[in-house]
């Protein structure tokens, strides 16, 4: 679906991504993991077209429609329903999408007055209104309580089962185990390992992956 070839991104003297090559194919969720500063957000922003790489190439087969949920999504100063309606591509699926994320009761409330968990689910509904083939989620549960995290993960599973390719970043290994079909480990802007989830967690192929799983790869 999308292939990164020798992708490098820099900001001043700092290298955010270092000659990263990776192919993301259709199928179950791809979960990008790594410690803080590994380059997860940079990779997703480049994949979305929000950031230009310094060098390298991105090949998108058929230019699939993309959408993203940011770690701290911005709610438009409108109601919950109006936020989804604003992003709608084609037919208005506002009611269906609000039901999917469990927010039909809050349709007429000001979006900015929702809780963090509700705002995150609204951002997901809004992204789905774009009818994407690939959905990028940047640490979608990073600031959520356990109940909100579970609600978010349930929706992500449903979305994935409906055939939308989910590519999400997280630094939560538990979440990666629960959701990932494929795991991509980044460290200091480099691709360390990309493997099927079961394979990655049962038999990590690199010392860095073993250290990360053991909680010893902090930065």
């Amino acid at each position: 679906m999308i292939r990164f070839e020798e992708l490098t991104a820099t900001a001043g003297a700092v290298t955010l991504l270092d000659r990263l090559s990776l192919t993301i194919a259709a199928g179950p969720p791809t979960v990008v993991i790594g410690p803080n500063g590994a380059g997860k957000t940079t990779l997703l922003r480049i994949a979305m077209g929000l950031l230009q790489p310094t060098s390298g190439r991105i090949v998108r087969a058929g230019d699939p429609r993309r959408a993203i949920v940011f770690q701290r999504p911005t709610m438009l100063r409108r109601t919950t329903a109006a936020n989804v309606r604003y992003a709608s591509f084609g037919a208005d699926r506002t009611r269906e999408l609000l039901a999917l994320v469990g927010l039909e009761h809050a349709a007429d409330r000001a979006a900015r007055r929702l809780s963090s968990g509700e705002q995150q689910r609204l951002a997901l509904a809004r992204a789905l209104a774009r009818e994407p083939a690939i959905l990028f989620l940047d640490e979608p549960t990073a600031s959520l309580d356990p109940a909100s995290t579970k609600a978010m993960e349930d929706v992500i599973r449903t979305v994935s089962q409906r055939g939308i390719k989910v590519v999400m970043s997280t630094h939560d290994l538990g979440e990666a185990r629960r959701l990932a079909g494929e795991v991509v480990l980044l460290h200091r802007g480099r691709l360390v390992e990309a493997a099927a989830a079961a394979c990655f967690f049962d038999a990590p192929g690199t010392a860095e992956a073993r250290k990360f799983i053991a909680g010893e790869l902090l930065v």
């Binding site: 929000l50 911005t74 438009l76 100063r77 109006a82 604003y86």
Partner: protein, 230 residues
């Protein structure tokens, strides 16, 4: 004190001369704010969303224009509308229309500069989301103006405050003609100079009451709207 009581009497009894002045002043100031908003908000939004060489200089110029002395504006409009001026054939000098033109020129930079700042701040907040949604330039502009509408009320209020309070421009281009171009501020200046303090104080009370009422209404509107739309 007796003067204050007389002033209050004029207000409470609905003195026709006083309310004719109030009516004209409101028509002139509100028309100027409306016209300035039609120009200033899109202009501010366009500057907020565009990048071009000299943008910083334009912003500095716009901000500086907020402090334009009303008498200078009055003089410029007077020269333009006077019989020998480029727009002299319009025959607008010493008419309420001339006063609206002068106040519009005075208020437009205030609304444009405040709108530019408000919309630019909101754009920084919305940029990633709207870019990710592939929102085009025109829809982006409309979205930002619409979502900033409650903050933009503050810009309109600042413009109205400036228009309602100024005396220099309207007295030059309006001429302070009784029953035709006499507004609250020009009448206050004239009546004070004549020693007719009850009317001057009465007009002052009305002017303060109007400014308070407009601000209270805008505040209530903003609070109610924020509850509904965030």
């Amino acid at each position: 004190m007796p003067e204050n009581l007389s002033a209050l009497d004029l207000v409470l009894t609905g003195d026709p001369a006083l309310f004719a002045i109030v009516r004209l002043a409101l028509i002139v100031s509100l028309s100027a704010v409306l016209l300035a908003a039609l120009v200033g908000v899109p202009l501010g939004a366009a500057i907020a969303l565009s990048s071009f060489r000299g943008r910083d200089a334009v912003i500095v110029f716009l901000n500086a224009m907020m402090g334009l002395p009303p008498v200078v504006i009055g003089l410029m409009v007077y020269l333009a509308l006077s019989r020998s001026g480029p727009l002299g054939s319009w025959g607008l000098l010493f008419t309420p229309q001339a006063m609206v033109i002068a106040q519009t020129i005075l208020v437009t930079p205030i609304i444009a500069a405040l709108a530019r700042q408000t919309i630019e701040d909101l754009w920084l907040e919305y940029r990633d989301e709207l870019t990710a949604m592939e929102v085009g330039p025109l829809r982006r502009l409309a979205t930002l103006v619409w979502d900033a509408r409650f903050s933009l009320i503050t810009a309109l209020l600042a413009g109205f405050g400036r228009a309602a309070a100024e005396v220099g421009a309207v007295i030059i281009v309006g001429g302070n003609i009784e029953g035709f171009t006499r507004t609250m501020t020009t009448a206050i200046a004239l009546e004070t100079s004549k020693g007719n303090l009850p009317l001057a104080i009465g007009l002052g009370l009305v002017l303060i009451a109007i400014v308070l009422a407009v601000n209270a209404l805008a505040w209530a509107l903003r609070r109610a709207a924020e509850r509904l739309a965030g």
